[in-house]
């Protein structure tokens, strides 16, 4: 049944629920089927009853006819009288016959002397009347058919009602069917005819022909049966039968309802209640089990099957739920671990830009966007020493956790090899050796590694099956370098890699990437492609690596749009700005004005001890100009001397080189600022540990004394290596 609302059964009102009661439905169907069956049975019974009653009546009438024939032929001359009546009738003209019922007509039969007491007619009437009353039939009479005219001509009629009694010679029309049937009867069975007549209604006539000695039919002894009796009998019978049927119907309905309630409704209700309980318990997280298993229904039919199936379903649901809980917990655990892995992997890649803020010789930027939570791509960069920067970009075969694990190993091995000072090719060769041994997962990694000599711009690179790098010369365009590829790393043992050199000039840009960039695919399965990538780089045309990488990433995203990211996208870009130029080339040792508005002086001299007085002279001159106390003068001189001594002793050893000393003053607060710049080996004297000046250890601390004195005598000191120069700046506040 289709419910109009989405109510569940237990939410319905009682009346609503009763509408669906199986018991009521059973009663209704039982009553309907009993009534239908009763009607059919009653019809059949009544028909049968009517048939046998009629048969019985006919039998009675037949007996009456036989009796009447016997008495009328033996006790009287029925045959003779019949022939006489018929002779008279037959002799009548048609118009005389039409006068039937009139006195005139009766006159025509006066020769029969029907009024005569004890006469032939009188005897016959009495005989027939006797039979009539004895058999209690409707009418007994003798008649003969006028076949051509379809009439029955009465000979003797014993009708007790004198009003409707016919007299000899009277006739009335009868059906030709009856005439034919009666005249053609062959003597078998009983001769009767039931017909509807306008005059008498439904009439049953039983007949018996009376034949003369010649064997011709003289007339028929006819008995009419009262059909009314049949009908009354039938009515009574039907009434009784109806009552009986009603009683039986009610009884059956009651019994059926009781039985249905016991074997159908109650078990179903129990299953239904168990279902409700089951749902409620689940809602309230009651851990009650076996709602259906405890039902104990043994009806031995589909309902028992239903309850067994429900119990099985309950058990399976429980098992499924237990499994599901386990699986969900497992999934959560994996999810947590995966996000941890993501974090670890992200932390593996250097992500702080600019990575070497003090290095002015290059700008560097990189990004990695994994397609999944963890990726197989990586980039890396690190300083091998002060003058060598290692650049790496790599793509591990496969995806997900296995790729991430392989990536970790690859990255670690690569960095270890490179940090040992091995060249690009040897690094790859060693890495391949390590990764191809016991490489059971058959994974591999494509790597491009470049080692930049920062001071000269010489880039030594090796390619292990990785994408072609892109190079832009200062005044040129971005172009792919079809460099020499080695086999992928980890793919084959004993592979030897070769390196090549690129001389970077200031303004040159090198851009490397993984296949996630050119192979980024949009919804219509078109790839981004290296051509488009190079085109985008040229369109952006910026020297800032971050602008370039962000620009490429943006156009890849624009290209791919809604399509699922397929591969990790990783890029690394470096702009070489050239080694910092010292000012030695264009200066002879001479004084010249410093940049900062003429408030200072600059001196460039060859860094040898003999030039120290020149430096001190310049400083003294400057300090005298600002009215410096002798004590501060000496402190500044001490610091200047120590730094100058450092430069002469170490910067260019064993050769010599120039040092540029700048003296400047500041106002508010008043201070002297002295800067030393040399193009010697990168060296930060401030990193030297302060000496332990206790007597016991003084021998060992000789070297740190100078810088210690500098620190003690000035207020601020800083070092940076910029544009290929060691730049040391110190500041002394002048009260």
């Amino acid at each position: 049944m289709k419910l109009k609302s989405n109510k569940t059964v237990q939410e319905m009102s009682k009346t609503e629920r009763r509408r669906h009661s199986l018991a009521a439905k059973t009663v209704r169907s039982t009553v309907i089927s009993c009534i239908l069956f009763g009607l059919v049975a009653e019809l059949v019974a009544v028909a049968f009853y009517a048939y046998s009653l009629t048969k019985q009546f006919i039998s009675v009438a037949d007996s009456a006819a036989h009796q009447a024939v016997m008495s009328a032929t033996h006790g009287a001359d029925a045959l003779g009288f019949s022939e006489e009546v018929m002779k008279t009738y037959n002799n009548l003209a048609a118009e005389d016959r039409a006068k039937m019922g009139t006195d005139g007509y009766r006159e025509l039969f006066s020769g029969l002397h029907i009024e005569e007491k004890g006469g032939e007619y009188d005897v016959l009437v009495n005989m027939l009347a006797g039979t009539l009353s004895y058999y209690d039939v409707y009418d007994v009479y003798i008649g003969m058919y006028d076949e051509p005219n379809g009439r029955l001509i009465y000979v003797v009629d014993a009708d007790p009602d004198m009003e409707t009694r016919f007299y000899p010679g009277d006739w009335e029309p009868v059906s030709r069917k009856e005439i034919k049937k009666f005249l053609a009867w062959n003597g078998e069975g009983k001769l009767y005819d039931i017909e509807w007549t306008d005059k008498y209604g439904l009439l049953c006539t039983v007949g018996l022909p009376m034949k003369n000695e010649a064997g011709e039919i003289a007339s028929f002894m006819l008995v009419d049966i009262s059909v009314e009796n049949v009908l009354v009998g039938m009515g009574e019978f039907a009434l009784q039968l109806t009552l009986a049927l009603i009683a039986v119907t009610l009884l059956l309905a009651w019994l059926q309802t009781k039985r249905i309630k016991r074997t159908l409704v109650e078990p179903i209700n129990r299953i239904s209640e168990a279902s409700v309980q089951y749902v409620n318990d689940r809602k309230n997280h009651v851990s009650e089990k076996d709602h259906f298993s405890n039902l104990d229904i043994h009806t031995g039919d589909e309902i028992e099957n239903l309850s067994l199936n429900m119990a099985a379903m309950e058990r399976e649901l429980e098992e499924y739920e237990a499994d599901l809980t386990k699986i969900t917990a497992e999934k959560e655990r994996i999810g947590t671990e995966l996000s941890l892995a993501t974090k670890i992997q992200a932390a593996m890649l250097p992500r702080i830009f600019p990575p070497f803020p003090e290095r002015t010789e290059f700008d560097l930027y990189a990004m990695m966007q994994p397609a999944r939570q963890v990726g197989g791509d990586f980039y890396d960069f690190f300083l091998i020493d002060e003058d060598h920067l290692c650049l790496v970009i790599a793509d591990v075969s496969g995806k997900g956790i296995p790729a991430a694990l392989f990536m970790m190993i690859s990255k670690t091995i690569l960095q270890s090899c490179a940090m040992l000072g091995k060249g690009a090719a040897e690094t790859l060769t060693k890495m391949n050796e390590a990764l191809s041994t016991n490489n059971q997962a058959r994974m591999f990694v494509t790597v491009w590694v470049g080692i930049l000599e920062i001071s000269t711009g010489r880039l030594t690179a090796a390619n292990g099956g990785h994408e072609y790098p892109v190079l832009k010369r200062k005044d040129g365009a971005f172009e792919l370098i079809k460099d020499k590829h080695g086999f992928v790393i980890g793919g084959r043992k004993n592979t030897v890699y070769h390196e090549y050199e690129l001389q970077l000039e200031p303004g040159d840009i090198i851009y490397v990437y993984t296949d996630g960039v050119p192979e980024a695919t949009n919804a219509s399965m078109k790839m981004f492609g290296t051509e488009r990538m190079v085109e985008v780089l040229n369109r952006i045309d910026d020297a800032d690596p971050k602008v370039l990488i962000d620009g490429v990433y943006e156009s890849v995203n624009d290209f791919v749009k809604e399509a699922e990211p397929f591969d990790d996208i990783t890029m690394l870009c470096l702009t070489y700005k050239g080694a910092a130029k010292s000012e030695t080339e264009d200066s002879d040792p001479s004084l010249k004005s410093a940049d900062n508005g003429g408030s200072g002086t600059t001196l460039t001299v060859e860094a040898v001890a003999d030039n120290f007085p020149k430096v001190v002279g310049m400083i003294e001159e400057g300090l005298n100009a600002v009215d410096c106390s002798p004590a501060d003068q000496m402190k500044i001189q001490l610091a200047v001397e120590e730094i100058y001594a450092n430069v002469t002793n170490y910067a260019y050893a064993p050769q010599t080189g120039n040092v540029t000393v700048t003296f400047a003053t500041e106002e508010d607060p008043k201070a002297a600022v002295i800067t030393f710049a040399d193009s010697g080996v990168p060296y930060n004297p401030l990193l030297k540990a302060d000496p332990d000046i206790s007597p016991e250890v003084r021998r060992r601390t000789k070297g740190g004394l100078g810088i210690f004195m500098v620190k003690k005598n000035v207020d601020d000191i800083s070092y940076e290596y910029r544009d290929g120069q060691n730049i040391l700046r110190m500041k002394k506040l002048l009260p």
Partner: protein
Amino acid sequence: MNIERTADGTKLTIALEGRLDMLTAPELDRQLPELLEGVKELTFDFQELEYVSSAGLRVLLSAQETMNEQGSMVVKNVNDQIMEIFEVTGFTDILTIE
């Protein structure tokens, strides 16, 4: 820088005048072994000394070490600025200053 020597038997007084810096200290350092030969009591007179740098300190330290083995050494007439340097560098603990 001027180096003025006043010898009296095994006593030697070295009076320094001017600056004892990276330029002049090596010269003193070069002369010292010869000057200190046989000396039992060494006196540095800093009356006229204006300036001492770490290079100078190293020479003083080396002289002190030599004298530790063969006698004694004192430094006298140290001006305030140089005294400050001695104090800062811990040389006041190493040298005998009068």
